[in-house]
């Protein structure tokens, strides 16, 4: 699939963006608008209609995002949605909550859709600058590659996914000699540590390819 002049007109699919009040959903909405998806913002159970995929954005604190999801009454819905292996993309902290937990908020469990948990980058090398902010090259792992491969992506994070099942890591990036999971996937549930919505046209293409891949 190529992207004519950067824009594309997919069959008008509807993507729900979980709007939990933390972080920047505007960027993601702008990206989905640009790709001509129909966007529904869901901030409570009442908002959920017929959707083709769910995107969970998130920046900031793991615990704050999980609590905001709970406060919106969306925790059970998402838990079930993930259990049923429905089309899902978690971005940044939206990816982090897919694992079992994070040392950022040890008392708050994640959704546990993937095994593993998040640890602070400084535990790998305390002499390095954290957060890790910037553009990095992605290296695909030997796992069956997803259709959507991205060469470079923009990251901004302080915690990284550790103790994951290897075959659920689609790509990694190099942080001072350590391989940090960048893109994880299991069935139709995907998570990315980077920000594809801030990844130029290639990032938008990644969003589209991933969504098209999991909503066939």
């Amino acid at each position: 699939m190529s992207m004519t002049k950067g824009r594309t007109v997919p069959i008008s699919k509807t993507v729900a963006v979980v709007t939990h009040g933390i972080g920047n959903i505007r960027s993601l909405t702008n990206a989905l608008d640009y790709l001509n998806y129909k966007v529904e913002h869901i901030s409570s159970l009442n908002d959920i209609g017929e959707v083709d995929a769910v995107i969970l954005p998130g920046v900031g604190n793991f615990g704050a995002v999980m609590r905001a999801i709970e406060a919106a009454g969306l925790q059970e819905f998402l838990q079930e949605y993930l259990l049923e292996d429905k089309p899902f993309l978690g971005v940044c902290v939206g990816m982090q909550v897919l694992l079992e937990g994070s040392l950022e908020a040890p008392s708050v469990p994640g959704f546990g859709a993937f095994s593993g948990s998040f640890m602070h980058l400084s535990t790998l090398d305390p002499t390095r600058v954290v957060p890790s902010i910037g553009w990095n090259h992605l290296t695909p792992t030997s796992s069956p590659a997803s259709a959507a491969v991205l060469e470079q992506a923009y990251f901004t994070h302080s915690y990284f996914a550790s103790k994951m099942n290897r075959d659920e890591v689609i790509s990694t990036y190099d942080w001072n000699g350590f391989k940090i999971p960048a893109h994880i996937a299991k069935g139709r549930v995907h998570g990315v540590q980077f920000h594809p919505e801030k990844g130029r046209l290639a990032g938008l293409e990644f969003i589209r390819n991933t969504l098209e891949d999991i909503t066939i």
Partner: protein, 253 residues
């Protein structure tokens, strides 16, 4: 890989540029310029409302909103952010980060409030550094007011308050296009445990190459060099890539 950040100073609806924060000159339309830099492959965009901290905000919001619909790279908004509400408004319009300077002196809780809600990665501590006899001092109000606080102490303080990165602008070198303040950049990069971006001084490609050896430096903010079409983002990226290639060829690692 260091980030190449295009810095756009804005006054009313215009892209402007001054020298050492003075003698502001109108250059053109900021949305057009931002779109051009984006199309040319810039890593980030920094939009600075240059009069907001003095007179209140005017046009930054609509400019930011239009840039965000067009340019899919990280956007930082700066200038006159006085409250969590101001920050929220800018995030709502498409900013990924806000940079705070002046108001965080009067209200030291501002940075932690924003960081607690939006995360440390969303708050940039902005420092306007003025060279003194044996140190650098922080200025506020777009270089009009002295604070008596050293840049080094300020960096520690900003990190304690929750800033996820720090943007240093050399007031002495700003707009002069005679090169960056290298000792300032080195000092800041050594002091900080969060990513540092340096701005103020880029005049030729070599000025940017001069920064590449500073290992812990994360980003470089460029204004005049791009706005006056001395070099394009494409030119700069090519220069940096050649340099990286040369480094790779010379080192075993």
């Amino acid at each position: 890989m260091k980030r190449l950040i295009a810095r756009l100073d804005i006054k009313s609806e215009f892209l402007i540029k001054g020298i050492r924060f003075e003698g502001l000159k109108k250059i053109g339309d900021p949305v057009e310029a931002a779109s051009q830099y984006y199309d040319d492959g810039v890593d980030e965009l920094l939009l600075v409302d240059t009069v907001a901290s003095l007179f209140g905000r005017n046009h930054l919001g609509s400019i930011l909103e239009n840039v965000a619909k067009r340019a899919f790279v990280p956007l930082t908004a700066a200038g006159g952010i006085r409250s969590l509400r101001d920050a929220e408004e800018l995030f709502g319009l498409g900013a990924d980060k806000v940079a705070v300077n002046t108001a965080s002196f009067a209200n030291p809780k501002l940075i932690s409030e924003i960081a607690n809600k939006f995360g440390a990665q969303a708050v940039v501590g902005s420092v306007h550094a003025k060279r003194g006899l044996d140190d650098w001092e922080c200025l506020t109000e777009q270089g009009r007011e002295r604070t008596g606080i050293t840049v080094k102490n300020r960096i520690h303080h900003l990190i304690d308050m929750g800033a996820g990165e720090i943007l240093i602008t050399s007031v002495d070198n700003d707009g002069v296009q005679g090169g960056f303040d290298i000792p300032l950049t080195e000092m800041a990069s050594e002091t900080s445990t969060v990513p540092i971006t340096i701005g103020g001084g880029a005049g030729v490609g070599q000025d940017i190459l001069d920064l590449m050896g500073i290992d812990k430096l994360s980003g470089v903010a460029i204004g005049s060099l791009l706005h006056f079409h001395t070099l394009s983002v494409r030119d700069l990226k090519a220069i940096l890539q050649n340099d990286e290639h040369d480094q790779g060829a010379h080192s075993a690692n």
